[in-house]
Every structure is written in structure tokens, then in C-alpha cells.
């Protein structure tokens, strides 16, 4: 099943990446022949949904399934349930995908040009919302199955510490259950009935708030699996072992507690939300930096330890001793490096008054191509080089391509994302097909807009090339005959300071989940009450299909 999950994830990655390069060329004006301007948003919806919903969810579901069964050394609790969630998620993907691609042709009367944030009152065809809901429901079923697997292990191991990887999976899933409540309520109670015509209007600000309740923690749903890799697998690839097991657990608990009550930081410039709520969200957001900063420390320390085990010396000389030619290592390490840069631009986004400068500009995609687009995506690609041979029993194909791939991604992303950040500062908006307007020009403090556009396009092409290299390696691996010498070693060494040294209360998942819910109630109780206070559907808006607009334009 891990194999099937990965296969779907890679297909989504390929298609999403194709859309990405089309966007990069189209919006910079380098080549506009693929699509008409108004179809740009269909492509962009596809890019967002395929990459941040389909690719990540399938990959993570597979990765977690492996992490739980491998670290507990037991089979999954219910094979039947595993098939169920896979099918639910696949069906959801097909429905949502049909709705999106329907926007490109007149043959089918469906479309969903609403981007992956689907803000009401722009409306998509109902099957888009139903598909999205099924993907999430499928992920819940998967989560429940990991928990059941853990409980059955618990019966035979009453006093043992939860193995680190399983602990990380369970904490991440708890976070996910809490976070997805917002979007589930939004889609099930408001958008689906509204798109079907069962209710006539929804409150755009309320649905938007519910979306962002989910919209920020979802990024931790992408990052925490990358952290799992960095904490448990990367140190070993570097030749050493994790520094501290206990600290890793603390970091995950902090994520569980802090990642949900922050969504308002995406709504700093929304009217209708009092300043105080925004301020609370900002303080939480800033504290959410803590676990990431701790991770940076531990992961770097563990890698350094590994390098010194391999004979590296000197203040920075140890860097040379690392296995840069091992793509699983280099991808994860480069991803971590880019994440540091993304962390800095994230701190800027989080500052509520600086946010005025960058909100909804190209700065924002510049930022998250470093975080989810690299920290998560490149780590997932890299670890596939290590994991896919293990789960398929087939040796890795095209090894030299695999070794080069992470570096191509890195260079492409440096070009694209740094130019996007700068263009954003000049005021160039995100999500727009042709950001060239009559009557004014963008002025940049440094470098010209034309030069930034070329960098974005060039970076986008390199990223796409890198993606093709990755897919070729995976294809070749899936085609390789079984057996032979796998070049990977799947043993993971224990941490330098093991779980025995850390307080047992860390393993009390219910306690942490309870506190997390409490924090959410504190941060969201009042704002939601005031939004709902004037009526659940008021001030309301009826659906506006995005395509009607096309007829006018």
C-alpha cells in the first residue's frame, strides 16, 4: 500500500509540476502559447490542489504507514481499513481533478476555477467540494488506523516508551484531526449545500475564517513528516545518530499545541476582524518559531556528529565529510537549508504590520516554495530514493541522475524564489496571469522587474527538469527486477540520548491533545462567536461562478 500511495503522489507531483512551469512561463510573459489568460486560474487551481493536497496527503499517508508499522514492528491493524482510506482519497482526487480540468474544455459542464483556497462567494461545481472533503475524510480514516495499530501494540508493550517515529506520527495526526475540523465544517455545512443550491447564501468572512483555521496548521501537516525524516533518518544517512530523542518529542508536542490557534495571521488585512484577535494570533505565531528553531539546532548537531564520525574535522571542515553524493542525504540536507531561508521570510510574514507590504504579493509564493515546495517536497523526493527500494525490493534506478537531481532543484529554487520575494516587495501581486498594468510600472529598490521575470522563468524550468529527473528515476526503479543488492541499509540507530532520559509525561497523548483543544477554544472562541453573532449566513453572499466573469472579460 505504501507503494500505491507513493505512485499516486508522484503522478500528482508530475502533473502539478507541469502546471507550475506553464505558470512560470505564462505570468512572466516568456511564453504564453500554452493557455489563454483566463485559463491561467484553472491551471493554478490544479497546481495548488495537486501539489499541496493530493501529492502531500498521499505521500504522507504512505510514509506514516511505513513509519508506524516499521517502528512498532507490527502489521497494520486492519488491512481492510487501509484499502478503504486509499480508495476514499483516490475517489476524492478523481472528483476534484475532474472538476478542475473540466474548466479547460467545454465538453464537460463542470469547472472549479476557485484556487485551492476556494473562497466563497466564487463557486465551484459541487463535485469539487465533495472531492476535497473525501480526501480529508480518507486521511482521517488513515489516522484512525495508525492509532488502532498503536493500541494493539500497546497491549503487548504496556510499559514501553512509544517508539519515536510512531510518536511523531500520532502527534501529527492529532494535530491534523483538530486542524481539519475548520475546513470540514466549512465544506460540509456551508459550501456543499450552497453549491447544490440547498442554502442560498454564506457569509464570506466566516467561511474564509474557517478555511484559515485549517489553512495554517495544514502547513505543519506537510512539515512535520519532513521533520520526522530529518530527525530519524537524516542523522543516520549522515553517518551518525540523533542527538536527543526527548527534545524531538518536545518539539512535536509544541507543534501540536501551537500550530492551530494562529490562522488569523493569514487574515491580518481582512476587515471585520478586531485587531486584538489578530494580535493574539501573532503572538502564538511567533512562539511557533520555537520548535522550528530547536529543530534547526538538533538536526544540524546530529548531522555534525555524523560527519565527525566519518572523520570530518574543523569548525566547518566537517561539512566536506558528508555524503553529498547520496541523493537521499543531499536532498534532505538542501531542503533543510532552504527551509532556514523560508523561515526568515516567514518571520516577516508573521509580523502584523510588515505584512501590509507583502500580503498577497509574489513574496508569498516565494516564501512557501521554500517551505512546502522545498522543505517538504524535496525531502519527500529525497527520502523516496531511500524508501522506495526498501518497500518495493527493487534497487534504485538511474543513480547518477538521482545524485544530481536535488542540486538542480536547489539551483532552480534559488533563482525562482529569490526573484519572487523581490518582485513581491516591488508590489507584484500573486495569482495573476499577466501582471502588467496600464498606467503604472513596478519600481524595485534593487534590480529590474524584467530581470526578475527572467529569473522566475528560468528557475521554473530548472525545477521542472529536476522533477522530470526524479520521475525518471522512480520509473526506472519501479521497472527494475526485484532482488539484487539494494544499496540502502534500513537499520535506524538509537538516539545519543534515548527516550529513557526524557519525562514520561511526554507520551501522554491525551493530555497534549486536551491542551491543544483548549488553546484553540481560547484563540477562536470569541472571534467565531462574534462572526456567528450576526447570523450564521449573514452578511451573506450567493454563489458567483468564476466562469460567468469569463464571458464578460
Amino acid at each position: 500500500m505504501v507503494r500505491y500511495c507513493f505512485a499516486v503522489a508522484f503522478l500528482a507531483l508530475g502533473a502539478g509540476g507541469l502546471f507550475g512551469v506553464i505558470q512560470a512561463l505564462h505570468r512572466t510573459g516568456i511564453y504564453r502559447g500554452f493557455i489563454a489568460n483566463q485559463d491561467y486560474y484553472t491551471i493554478l487551481t490544479g497546481h495548488g490542489v495537486l501539489l499541496v493536497l493530493v501529492f502531500t496527503t498521499f505521500f504522507i499517508a504512505g510514509l506514516f504507514l511505513w513509519a508506524v508499522t516499521d517502528s512498532l514492528d507490527t502489521p497494520v491493524a486492519s488491512e481492510w481499513t487501509t484499502k478503504l482510506w486509499f480508495r476514499l482519497m483516490l475517489l476524492g482526487t478523481l472528483l476534484a481533478g475532474t472538476a478542475i480540468l473540466g474548466g479547460l474544455t467545454d465538453l464537460v459542464p463542470v469547472s472549479a476555477d476557485v484556487l485551492f483556497t476556494f473562497y466563497a462567494p466564487l463557486a465551484a461545481h459541487p463535485i469539487f467540494y465533495i472531492g476535497a472533503a473525501l480526501i480529508i475524510v480518507g486521511s482521517w480514516v488513515a489516522g484512525i488506523n495508525y492509532f488502532r495499530t498503536f493500541f494493539s501494540w500497546r497491549q503487548d508493550n504496556a510499559d514501553a516508551r512509544i517508539p519515536l517515529r510512531t510518536f511523531m506520527v500520532l502527534v501529527t495526526m492529532l494535530m491534523w484531526f483538530i486542524a481539519t475540523m475548520g475546513v470540514a465544517v466549512e465544506v460540509v455545512f456551508f459550501l456543499i449545500p450552497w453549491s447544490l443550491g440547498l442554502i442560498s447564501q454564506v457569509d464570506p468572512l466566516l467561511t474564509r475564517t474557517l478555511f484559515w483555521f485549517f489553512g495554517h496548521p495544514v502547513v505543519y501537516f506537510w512539515l512535520m513528516p519532513a521533520y520526522l525524516v530529518w530527525y530519524t533518518i537524516l542523522p543516520k544517512l549522515a553517518g551518525g545518530r540523533l542527538f536527543s530523542d526527548g527534545l524531538a518529542r518536545i518539539v512535536f508536542v509544541l507543534f501540536l499545541l501551537l500550530s492551530t490557534p494562529v490562522g488569523f495571521h493569514h487574515q491580518y488585512v481582512d476587515p471585520g476582524i478586531p485587531e486584538g484577535f489578530k494580535f493574539v494570533a501573532m503572538t502564538n505565531t511567533m512562539f511557533l518559531l520555537l520548535p522550528s528553531l530547536l529543530t534547526a539546532f538538533t538536526v544540524v548537531a546530529s548531522i555534525e556528529h555524523g560527519a565527525r564520525q566519518r572523520g570530518g574535522t574543523g569548525l566547518l571542515g566537517w561539512l566536506k565529510a558528508l555524503p553529498w553524493d547520496n541523493p537521499a542525504f543531499s536532498a534532505s540536507a538542501l531542503a533543510g537549508l532552504m527551509f532556514a531561508a523560508g523561515g526568515f521570510s516567514g518571520m516577516i510574514n508573521a509580523g502584523m504590520n510588515i505584512n501590509y507590504l507583502v500580503h498577497n504579493t509574489l513574496w508569498v509564493p516565494g516564501h512557501f516554495h521554500l517551505t512546502v515546495g522545498t522543505a517538504a517536497a524535496l525531502t519527500f523526493m529525497g527520502i523516496s530514493y531511500w524508501l522506495v527500494p526498501q518497500v518495493t525490493g527493487r534497487p534504485l534506478g538511474l543513480r547518477s541522475w538521482a545524485s544530481a537531481q536535488p542540486f538542480v532543484w536547489f539551483i532552480g529554487m534559488v533563482l525562482m524564489s529569490n526573484a519572487m520575494h523581490r518582485a513581491g516587495l516591488a508590489g507584484v501581486p500573486r495569482r495573476t496571469a499577466v501582471p502588467q498594468y496600464e498606467g503604472f510600472e513596478y519600481v524595485s529598490a534593487y534590480g529590474s522587474y524584467a530581470e526578475m521575470r527572467i529569473q522566475i522563468a528560468l528557475g521554473g524550468v530548472l525545477l521542472f527538469v529536476s522533477l522530470l529527473m526524479f520521475l525518471a528515476v522512480m520509473w526506472d526503479t519501479y521497472m527494475n527486477p526485484k532482488g539484487g543488492r539494494l544499496t540502502v541499509n534500513s537499520e535506524l540507530p538509537a538516539a545519543l540520548s534515548g527516550p529513557e532520559a526524557s519525562p514520561k509525561v511526554l507520551d501522554n497523548l491525551w493530555l497534549w491533545a486536551g491542551i491543544a483543544v483548549l488553546l484553540v477554544v481560547l484563540a477562536y472562541g470569541l472571534p467565531l462567536a462574534s462572526l456567528v453573532g450576526d447570523g450564521l449566513f449573514d452578511p451573506g453572499s450567493a454563489p458567483v461562478p468564476a466562469w460567468l466573469a469569463g464571458l464578460l472579460g
Partner: protein
């Protein structure tokens, strides 16, 4: 649990950084007074802007010496005013924008400034800004609002005081009704 000496130092540094960031932003809000978009604009029936006191005839109103209110309607795919005719304002003035959407969510961002807000149906966004020197600014819709989103833009022209006059007959100082005074009383 054993926490390594370097780990402790790093933890301290991280906490310091976080508290520092919060402190600078708080200072920004209470010191120079960078006000946030908030709920002070109030709510509105977005399907009936035509019947609204101000939004039925959006535009610039003078509300004091060097103080102006600008009412803007954002709709697929124009700003009224802004797109078909520029929003003209005098230099050295304090301007409060009131933005309402007539249909879907739009953005309202003046390039090169920190005027940046969402226009959400049902809500009025209110943001105050000072314009010093004469200059032409771009106004863009930076939230996807439909198939011609990329065409939704406008300009803001800040002209020397001497060249400024409010055109039209019914939108001058005379328009300063009690309603306006009220809206202004609740300044950010």
C-alpha cells in the same frame, strides 16, 4: 531529562528572538501608530450598495482641512473610482479609504505603499494613509476574483494642492453629513 549546555543556550537565544520580534511589532503599533485593518469599517449589505448613502455614489469627499474620505467599490473587474478614472488626491493630505465589494472577494493594494487590504463582501475595509509628495501610484486587485482578475487595476494620482479640486457638484464638502462625522469619530 538531560539538556545539553549548547541546547540551553540556543533555547535562550530562540526565546529572546521571539520576544524581541513581538516587542518590535507592539512598539510599531503603539509608537509610530501603525494601525491595523480591523472591524471599524462595519458591515454592509453587499447586494444593495446602490442604496447606500456613500457607496451608491463612490468617490472622494473632503472631511476636514487636508483630510479626505474615499469610498471605493470593488467589483468584477473594476474599482469605482480608480479604473475608469483615476482617484485624484492632493499632496500632504490624510486619506481614509473605505472599500466595499459588490460581488466576490477582491484585494485593494496601492503599489509601493503599505495600503493593502481585502475587500470582502459584507464588510467595509477602512484604512487611513498619509500622502506627502505628488506621485502616481498603481492600484491593483491582488486577490483572485474571476477570469479577468489580471485586468482589475487602477491608478491613484496625488497632485499638488494647488491643482486639486473636487469635481462634480454633489460630492464636495457639502456632503459632510452627520453620517460622515460619525464614521470618522470611530477612527481606528
Amino acid at each position: 531529562m538531560e539538556i545539553h549546555r549548547f541546547e540551553k543556550a540556543w533555547l535562550g537565544f530562540a526565546l529572546l528572538l521571539i520576544v524581541g520580534l513581538i516587542a518590535t511589532i507592539t512598539y510599531g503599533a503603539v509608537g509610530p501608530g501603525v494601525a491595523m485593518i480591523s472591524d471599524s469599517g462595519g458591515t454592509i449589505d453587499s447586494s444593495a450598495l446602490g442604496e447606500h448613502e456613500q457607496f451608491s455614489d463612490p468617490g472622494v469627499r473632503q472631511v476636514g482641512e487636508n483630510e479626505y474620505d474615499v469610498y471605493v467599490v470593488a467589483q468584477q473587474f473594476i474599482f469605482r473610482p480608480g479604473t475608469n478614472e483615476p482617484i485624484t488626491l492632493p499632496a500632504d493630505s490624510t486619506v481614509t479609504f473605505h472599500v466595499a465589494s459588490a460581488d466576490v472577494i477582491h484585494g485593494f493594494s496601492i503599489t509601493g505603499t503599505n495600503v493593502n487590504t481585502m475587500a470582502i463582501p459584507g464588510q467595509v475595509s477602512k484604512i487611513t494613509v498619509e500622502f506627502d509628495d505628488p506621485q502616481t501610484y498603481g492600484l491593483v486587485c491582488h486577490e483572485y476574483c474571476g477570469a479577468a482578475h489580471h485586468e482589475m487595476a487602477g491608478t491613484i494620482e496625488v497632485v499638488p494642492q494647488s491643482e486639486f479640486s473636487i469635481e462634480g457638484t454633489d460630492s464636495g464638502v457639502a456632503d459632510l453629513t452627520d453620517e460622515d462625522a460619525d464614521a470618522d469619530g470611530g477612527e481606528n
